[in-house]
Symmetry: C2
């Protein structure tokens, strides 16, 4: 199928910002945040930082000043009700429900295909539902620059200025400036690099030439689909078939038939890397603070929740007593929790599962999930 | 009132063992075992060591081979049902319920007075309901020697051979041997000493002349009451008034009227110390293992419960996952508990309260109870 056949006549005279449509992929269980985050209540449905908003709500509110209500959300069918409670303004046509997880290639690709069938001139921007960003204004400035840059025919990634030599993120090496109107910071991408060693990460930090790859990008949907078609034609065909049926009575039937047949592949391999090789990728370096809230140590760091002596306490109505202790307590029960003489502890208290670990071991929480899976303790996963 | 007026004619030809009646004072909340042990479910109602028996049941079973069913139990009114479930064979006349706590002088004194009115030749033995002892046979041998010694007109304490220089117990210095038939180890008491410093405790341990004072004693009820009358005449009068009404229809009314008026004093001050000064106290040195299960570190030490890797797990149906962790988990919930990379931790999980501490800080748990009391969190105390 040729995407050009689908091109409608676009309304004349629109600037790049008017063509923008935000996409929020809301997937991933957040295994390292078990037992708070779990299959039935993933990370993005929680207020992990005591901000008063769940992560998905905060993501929507951060995009809305740029996109208005032009926001498409992709998530699992199981989360439909919870997501609609969080985002009551979301139109039914803009909620894409996956009957089973098919990785980011299918999720973001379907968003691109749906937006393309509605308006082939659309510039999409993809922003995960489970990240913490501050301040919103700096984020919005970077996205606006990315939209102007995308309008010149680029897939534009937003690079985050590193604050420490993280070994948990991929990096982007900045290339030459691009001099685009409305995007003074836009530049070429010299290189994408995978998660580095600590030594290498320190060199990156010192050099000032590297940004964290936060997985955020802005691109014309037509360009996205062109690369997808070239690299993953089967995936492309399936996604276009669903997209063409999306705004018709056939939506459910076609999705039900086609979705399970789609190959699983990450959007990085299906689109971003081949596009970079073809010279189609640019970046906007940005220096807002950004965190993917990967573990409880991150929550301890990011949370603005009140401290009971030296212990951060996150919960709706926590009853926590501490004596000579440091660390973090996350609770969604009404139990009394007492910490006595324990340092750097992480306590996560839910009605059916309790985690006790330390900040230093927070990354290992997924081992508990793996172990419980082996044990057959599926009720708490 | 003169105790001699109450003396019945004793059956002829009974040996000391036939005159024995055991008394189990079951009091004390066990604050340092919160939230497992608490006002509504004190220490003695728990199986703290994974033995399969609650401490009170184990205490009864340890005495029964010596005393048969001649066992009197003193506890708070609130624990009546729980105690009766644990000890269904206990006769109603042998269950002494305190309407309010009045310290050990009143509790043990009332037991002595009731037993005296029934049979003034009775030799009583008092053994707290919340201690762990092993092996039972060595304990029973020591109690038999104590009974023979008591029959010569002594208050006989059982001293425990120290296994480490504890600063948490009082000590008894052994005096000259007494050469009593049936009690080859009986000896005088040279000195009672209060909880020592660590340095002093080490000297005691080296010398071999000191035993731990475990608060266990065996004595003729008549001798107990004689000292009580001399030292605490008001307490004595009140207790005798209740005792005389005990096996009559007036029991409840008299207890209700008199008990609240009784002075609060420990049995050590009311009887044991004055008796020692009068040369009326002897001891049996014993070397069974003994522990008052004072905190969760003691539970970790004593428990025969299964280990999940290096973590002791105590609970009826625990679901515990551990990874690179050491310590102890005590649970009376069905929650999944995961420990990741945390050392020497103590986790106590109950439906309405959770404690997280370390073995080294186990003695400080009462601070949590004090703090929660100040906070007004009375529902979990």
């Amino acid at each position: 199928m040729n995407t050009e056949n689908l091109a409608h006549v676009a309304p004349a005279g629109r600037g790049p910002l008017e063509k923008f449509f935000a996409v929020i992929p809301a997937g991933g269980v957040g295994t390292r945040l078990w037992p708070l985050s779990r299959a039935a209540a993933p990370k993005f449905l929680h207020d992990l930082t005591g901000s008063g908003s769940t992560l998905i709500r905060a993501t929507y509110d951060r995009l809305e000043p740029i996109s208005g209500n032009r926001i498409l959300l992709v998530t699992g069918e199981a989360h439909r009700d919870a997501v609609c409670r969080q985002l009551p303004e979301l139109a039914d046509d803009d909620l894409v429900l996956e009957s089973e997880p098919k990785d980011s290639g299918a999720a973001i690709g379907l968003a691109a295909a749906i937006l393309f069938t509605r308006d082939p001139e659309t510039i999409m921007g993809s922003f995960a539902a489970d990240q913490v960003i501050s301040p919103d204004e700096k984020f919005q400035e970077a996205v606006r620059e990315a939209i102007y840059t995308a309008a010149t025919g680029k897939i534009v990634t937003i690079g985050i200025k590193p604050t420490h030599p993280s070994t948990g993120f991929g990096y982007i090496k900045m290339g030459a400036a691009l001099e685009i109107e409305g995007a003074p910071h836009a530049c070429d991408v010299a290189e994408f690099v995978e998660k580095p060693s600590e030594e290498v990460a320190e060199k990156y930090l010192e050099s000032g030439a590297y940004s964290w790859n936060a997985g955020m990008f802005v691109a014309p949907v037509e360009l996205m689909l062109r690369h997808l078609k070239a690299n993953e034609p089967l995936l492309y065909d399936g996604l276009m078939e669903i997209a063409l049926a999306w705004d018709t009575p056939e939506r459910v039937a076609v999705k039900k038939r086609v979705w399970p047949t789609l190959p699983k592949i990450a959007i990085d391999y299906a689109v971003a890397e081949p596009a970079a090789a073809a010279g189609d990728v640019a970046m906007i370096p940005a220096d807002f603070s950004w965190d993917d809230v990967g573990d409880f140590a991150a929550i301890a760091r990011l949370s603005s929740a009140k401290e009971v002596k030296d212990v951060k306490v996150i919960g709706e109505s926590p009853r926590v007593f501490t004596e000579d202790s440091t660390g973090i307590v996350v609770t969604d029960t009404k139990r009394v929790i007492a910490l006595i003489g324990i340092q750097d502890v992480v306590v996560v208290d839910t009605p059916d599962a309790l985690l006790v670990t330390t900040r230093a071991h927070a990354q290992l929480v997924k081992k508990a999930v793996d172990g419980l899976k082996l044990n057959g303790d599926l009720d708490v996963l």
